[in-house]
Structure formats: structure tokens, C-alpha cells
Assembly symmetry: C2
Homo-oligomer: 213 residues x 2
């Protein structure tokens, strides 16, 4: 896989619009302080009450900033929540690109493919509820246009092309990602009581059949 940039969220206004001087982007120190405050307040509130119960107003109040500052910084509710898990998402993406086999490069494509689903599901256990809140506050179709989704989609497409050149890799990348959405996994886990092993086995079965392994 080529050196795909690590992108976990749409660029914030900062990265996007600040004047660039000699390739260097500066952030005013009050802005940086407020961003830290906002993230800390959001993290605390989400941890104590659950992402879907916390409003933007309350985060702003808890952080001691105005509501406008939240939206300037993070764009919308989904952007703020996503920022709370961007470190974990980046780490996982890093593993896919530069980590050890079978997840990272070095192993045969089929093995990397079959390692992906279980690893993603494992990773998801820690923040599925938060990610579900992100997806819920995204308007229809935006989930699949988000940078993280595109990243995973590209990753799977490349592996599928290498593992089974005859199939429609682009289509099946979406198919393999669909049952990994936070909404589906949460429903299977909490609503139907399926355990992680069962989900991982099922996903691998699906992927293995597809590439003829």
C-alpha cells in the first residue's frame, strides 16, 4: 500500500484556512488553549453521561467558552466527537500502513485482509458508542464520504484486488465495511448478545469465501 496520508477527520478550519507562511501554520495560543479545554470538557462529559446525552451548549459551558468557538474549531457536532477518538483511529491506521504483519505490509494480501476485520472489531469495542454517535449526527451519506471511511475503503480495495483479481474489488470493499459500522456492531453486540468472537468469525467467513480462501 502506498504512503496514504493518515487522515482521521475532515480538516478543521485551522488546518484549512489559516495563512501559510513558508509552509508553516501558526495557531494563536488562546485558540490552542480553548481547543484543549473543549476537548477535555467533551471527554469528561461523554465519559460520564454518554455521547448522545451531551449537548454542544453544555460542552461549551463546561469548557468556559462560547458556543461559537466550538463550531469554529470543529465544524459541527460530528467533528467534535470524532476529534475525541482521532488518536485511536490514527494509531489503528498506522498499524495498517506500517505495522507488523499480518495487519501491516509483509503478509500475503489474503492474510492481511482476514486480519483486518477482527482487528477493526477489537479496536471498535472501546469506542463503538462514541462512533455511533458520530455516525448518527452525520447527515445521510456523509459517513461514507468521511476521510476515515475512504481510508479503510481504499485499504480493502487494494487488498481485494491483490487477493482476488477477478472480483469487483471496489464494490466488495463497501460490502465488507458495511457490517463493521458502529450501528450494526452495537446492535449485534448489545441488542442480540453476539460476542466479539462470533462477529469476527462471521466476518472472516464472509471475506474468506469471497476471495476463495
Amino acid at each position: 500500500m502506498p504512503d496514504l496520508p493518515l487522515i482521521t477527520a475532515l480538516p478543521t478550519l485551522d488546518e484549512h484556512e489559516l495563512p501559510v507562511v513558508g509552509g508553516e501554520v501558526r495557531e494563536r495560543c488562546d485558540a490552542a488553549r480553548n481547543r484543549r479545554r473543549i476537548l477535555a470538557a467533551a471527554e469528561a462529559l461523554v465519559a460520564s453521561e454518554g455521547a448522545s446525552c451531551v449537548s454542544m451548549d453544555r460542552i461549551a459551558t463546561a469548557a468556559g467558552v462560547g458556543k461559537g468557538t466550538l463550531f469554529r474549531r470543529f465544524g459541527d457536532r460530528a467533528g467534535l466527537l470524532r476529534a475525541l477518538l482521532s488518536d485511536r483511529e490514527s494509531d489503528f491506521q498506522e498499524q495498517l500502513i506500517r505495522g507488523a504483519p499480518p495487519l501491516g505490509p509483509g503478509a500475503p494480501p489474503v492474510e492481511r485482509l482476514l486480519a483486518f476485520g477482527p482487528a477493526y472489531l477489537e479496536e471498535l469495542q472501546g469506542y463503538a458508542e462514541l462512533l455511533a454517535a458520530v455516525e448518527a449526527s452525520l447527515e445521510s451519506g456523509m459517513r461514507m464520504r468521511s476521510a476515515p471511511y475512504q481510508f479503510y475503503r481504499t485499504h480493502l480495495t487494494i487488498l481485494l484486488r491483490a487477493a482476488a483479481p477477478s472480483i469487483d474489488a471496489e464494490y466488495h470493499a463497501d460490502v465488507l465495511l458495511a457490517p463493521l459500522s458502529a450501528e450494526v456492531v452495537l446492535h449485534q453486540r448489545d441488542g442480540l448478545g453476539m460476542d466479539l468472537q462470533r462477529l469476527a468469525d462471521g466476518w472472516c467467513m464472509q471475506a474468506a469465501c469471497l476471495v476463495g480462501a
Copy 2:
């Protein structure tokens, strides 16, 4: 498949709470008139401006009723939008239960399974945008708890059990439904330019591999 009731939406308050006299449910005639008015107004507005641009207030105004009446009748926005396509959903479910093979009973389970995806995708073409709006206005997890989803899930579970007893039918029913969600299909069709045939072929490939056909 046993005589599963045709359920296309959560029961409205009418079917739910009205007093039942000798097995007969009565609806006051002003209530019936208002329901027709609301559905007609909603259908017209959705057709002319798209489901995601029409607010409940505007539907109420166009129908000449108060906003409270909309919510009393249909529960929430998702309920009202879903009511707009419940006829089409019912027809399709009817075909699955009592229609001609290969969709309906009579054909071998594998054939019925492989007929399901393409038929569902075909059906979806007409109201994907509306269904996406329904799903978007449902809070996280509710899509998979809705009666229509449960219906399709049961249908696929039964077919999978019959077609391939050794696999985890319950899990794979969810997997096969995941890429048929309106959000995914719309993105593939409109965002990526995949045509219906490609989606249908891909889905069949997936299902066929799974059951070893």
C-alpha cells in the same frame, strides 16, 4: 416461511391505543380525514422538494392541521416519512411471502436467496432517497429494530439456514442486509456511479460464495 405478519412500520397510535370493541377498531372521521390530508401534503412536498428539505411544520401548514396532529398520528418524522412508502414496502413483502418463485415460496432456498438481493435493489430504486431520509431521522440503532428490518432479517435467516445449515445464519442475515441500506446504495449509485446491475451482481456473488453455490 411461516405466515409472518406484514408489518411495514411500528404501529401508529391508532392501531395501538384506540379502544377495541368486539375486535373492531374505530377511527373518528375527522381523524381519518386529517390523516389523508397529511399524507397527501407530505407526498406532494416530498415529491417537489426532496424528503430532507421538508420540515414537519411545513407539512402541517400545507395540510391545514396543527403540528401536534402530525406527531399524534405518526409518532415522529421517521414514522410519517415511512408511512409514505408503506404501500410499496407491503407489496414487496407480500411477494416474498406469497409471490411467485423464485422470490416467493416454491423455489429452492438458494434460488430464493439469490433472487432477494436484486429484487430488493430494483424495488429500492424508486424510493431510496425517501428511505435514506427515514433512516437518517431515526436515532442510532433504531433502523435495525424497525419492523421492516426485522422482517427482512427473519426472511434471510430462514433462507440461509435452509441453504447452508453450517453457517451462522443470524449473523450473515445482518451482513447481507448491511450493503442494501439506502445510505450505502445511494452512495454507490450516485456517489460512485455504480449501476444497478453491478450492485446486483456484486450482492449475488457475495451471497453465492457464502452458501457455496
